[in-house]
Symmetry: C2
Subunit: 130 residues, 2 copies
Amino acid sequence: MTVCQRRNTRQRQVVLEELRAENCHPTAAQLYDRVRQRLPRISLGTIYRNLDILEETGQCVRLCGSASAEARFDGRIEPHLHHQCRACGRVRDLETMLPVLDDMIGRNVEDHRVDSFTLIFHGVCAGCRS
Amino acid sequence: MTVCQRRNTRQRQVVLEELRAENCHPTAAQLYDRVRQRLPRISLGTIYRNLDILEETGQCVRLCGSASAEARFDGRIEPHLHHQCRACGRVRDLETMLPVLDDMIGRNVEDHRVDSFTLIFHGVCAGCRS
DNA sequence: ATCGTTGCAAAATATTTGCAGTTGA
DNA sequence: TCAACTGCAAATATTTTGCAACGAT
């Protein structure tokens, strides 16, 4: 969606309020169910469109997925870091080590067991900046 | 897919070989295109099934997505850590701080600019272990 | 009045699955 | 032999989009 003068619609307000009220990282469909309790005529398309706008304007964060960002697979199985370019979408392996992360494996964080991790840095890659 | 005696089929071998040969974290469709050059009659369904098995047996890693793990959104926008339970699928915010990650923001890693990061620890949560 | 936004429905995209035939152990 | 696996096609699931009406500024 192109940049333009955003309007502060009731739908967008409620989507953001319910997203903030939810501490469980809802999917679009889960958020739709919540928002529909307050705005019964809202459509799922509007939820998706507003989530895109909220992300674009830095008011929410997308943890993974979307049809245009399908699952990606990595044949390198030892824990390592990634960088994904916001411009070209490419995901690269990094050789940088962060021992503090490796040390978490096999331990608990806040009582939850850690077996592995996925770390993706987001930003513009060298190629896309030059 | 239930655990059973895996067979070492040619299709599975080639999927894994091509996944390892690819350093760019291919999607299932991209891998399909590569594998099809060696096994022209392979189907996309077989690619998906083998990627599931390879992940299950720890021979590859899924970076994000899949139809059963849709995009999740987070109304908390400052960088923070997550834990996703392998058993119940729930994603939780963590309060633990890793300054080494926050310090990366605004800098480059291996020449790629970092604006933000997504970190998800994987493992079984406290509730699912008890 | 303008143009961003909405609801609805249809389309597009991505992933999974049923089935009958094939194949590895 | 025989259960795991395959190709194919159909079914699901998720996300996006076209359009006419609506509404914020």
